[in-house]
């Protein structure tokens, strides 16, 4: 009797087993970054990845990160030489010979922004490909087999469409982008698949969108009410007077303007905190939905992402970042990976023994664009 395909293979169990040494690594990285004026960041990033990867266990065997700081450094040098340096030289040339107000300067700057937006997706894709190609499990590495150019153009188009639709195309576009990147993902010769529609995301998206508009209106009303209570109807008159060219504001007027600015600041901070919390509802839904659309072998994925857990993750990470002045960034990265490991479950089996090594070309350098745009999460 032979096993049916559904029962062939292993159940997959993912867990995060922390090991000591991350604190020491964080402090060493911080000090060496300081001494080398951040040039050490490539090696720092590599050391942190090596540590975090080695804490991720799949069926009792840890991941292994085989990247090198020098590869990241070379990647950054190539991007600097081929992409950033020509723009810097051109801008310097125009500023010196044609003057800082010359229209050509604005044209070059606009071109630079266009290139950045055009290449943003490529940077994400290439960084992911590099990380996968340097990630081993049981000696087998991962990769992305598609084109970073295709992904980048899709990404650029999606950014434009998102803006033009006031965000309403987001669920569709995120689904398309996720389908592209997961569809290109391989572990050895095993392909990942992504199949699903964006429609189940829309009710949650609509809820978050309308709640955001309501929050903005509510905070505007609160702001207006606070100003009216604190300062009264004189506020417009005071602002008109102090912004006159020859105005000499009195202490009382400066005090009033200060109070208005403070109320505005507090309202903005409150809004800044509330809106991401609202969108955590959508993010959790999207993460869980995308996980359920993903499959590999005879297995599908389930991610137990909830709005409360996402808010807690982000808020605590933010507090860690602020109170350690960024020194504890490796712990933030560890918390992100741990969140995924603790909450993901794999349903079904994967015939692990028959996965063979990836034959995909392995880049010698990596993540230059992602470093230039500062978009690498880990």
């Amino acid at each position: 009797m032979t096993d049916s395909p559904a029962t062939t293979g292993e159940q997959i169990r993912v867990e995060y087993v922390p090991r000591p040494g991350l604190g020491k690594l964080a402090i060493t990285n911080f000090l060496l970054n300081l001494i080398t004026l951040t040039v050490y960041r490539f090696w720092a990033k590599t050391n942190v990845r090596r540590h975090i990867w080695s804490c991720v266990y799949i069926n009792g065997q840890p991941l292994e990160y085989t990247g090198h700081g020098m590869e990241l450094f070379k990647g950054a040098l190539i991007v600097f030489g081929l992409f950033l340096l020509p723009f810097i030289l051109l801008i310097a040339f125009i500023s010196i010979y044609l003057g800082p107000g010359h229209p050509a300067l604005f044209a070059v700057q606009a071109l630079l922004y266009l290139f950045v937006f055009l290449l943003w997706g490529a940077a994400l894709y290439r960084a992911r490909r590099y990380q996968l190609s340097r990630t081993l499990w049981r000696g087998i590495r991962g990769t992305l087999v598609g084109s970073s150019v295709t992904y980048s153009l899709t990404y650029f188009g999606s950014m434009m469409a998102r803006g033009m639709s006031l965000g309403w195309t987001t669920p569709v576009l995120n689904t398309v982008l996720q389908e592209q990147i997961i569809g290109d993902m391989r572990f050895g010769d095993m392909a990942f698949k992504f199949r699903g529609r964006a429609s189940p995301l829309y009710p949650t998206y609509a809820l978050c969108w309308f709640l955001t508009i309501a929050a903005v209106i509510l905070f505007s009303i609160i702001f207006g009410a606070e100003i009216a209570t604190l300062v009264g109807p004189e506020v417009t008159k005071i602002f008109n007077e102090i912004f006159k060219p020859d105005a000499v504001p009195t202490t009382a007027q400066i005090w009033t303007v200060g109070r208005v600015a403070m109320v505005l600041l507090v309202t903005f901070i409150a809004l800044f905190l509330v809106i991401p919390m609202l969108w955590a509802v959508y993010s959790a839904r999207e993460l869980a939905t995308f996980a359920s659309y993903t499959s590999a072998g005879n297995a599908t994925f389930k991610l137990n992402a909830t709005p409360a857990s996402l808010i807690s993750l982000v808020v605590i990470n933010f507090v860690i970042l602020i109170f350690t002045l960024g020194v504890a960034r490796p712990f933030i990265q560890q918390r992100l990976i741990r969140y995924m490991c603790d909450r993901i479950s794999v349903i079904g089996t994967i015939d692990v023994d028959h996965i063979t090594q990836s034959m995909a070309y392995v880049d010698r350098t990596g993540e230059g664009l992602a470093d230039a745009f500062d978009i690498s999460v880990i």
């Binding site: 087993v17 090991r19 000591p20 040494g21 090596r50 080695s54 266990y57 065997q61 840890p62 292994e64 499990w137 049981r138 000696g139 087998i140 050895g188 692990v352 023994d353 028959h354 996965i355 063979t356 090594q357």
Partner: protein, 64 residues
């Protein structure tokens, strides 16, 4: 003295159970589906530092 270990050949993700013995020149191992192999110590390195979950001996890499 031989100890039990897990071996990954880098060609498939199959988990081989092997018996490993260490002598002054290198590491010898053999197991079900794995022909007898000998790694000279010069090519052997530790992947990471030892922990309770993953002792040093089972996380070795060999470069040809």
């Amino acid at each position: 003295m031989a100890i039990e270990a897990r071996y990954f050949d880098g060609e498939t993700a199959r988990d081989y159970r092997v018996n490993v013995s260490l002598d002054a020149n290198g590491i010898a191992f053999v197991g079900d589906g794995v022909a007898s192999k000998f790694w000279n110590l010069a090519g052997v390195g530790a992947i990471d530092t030892p922990t309770k979950a993953m002792p040093f001996a089972s996380r070795l890499t060999f470069t040809l």
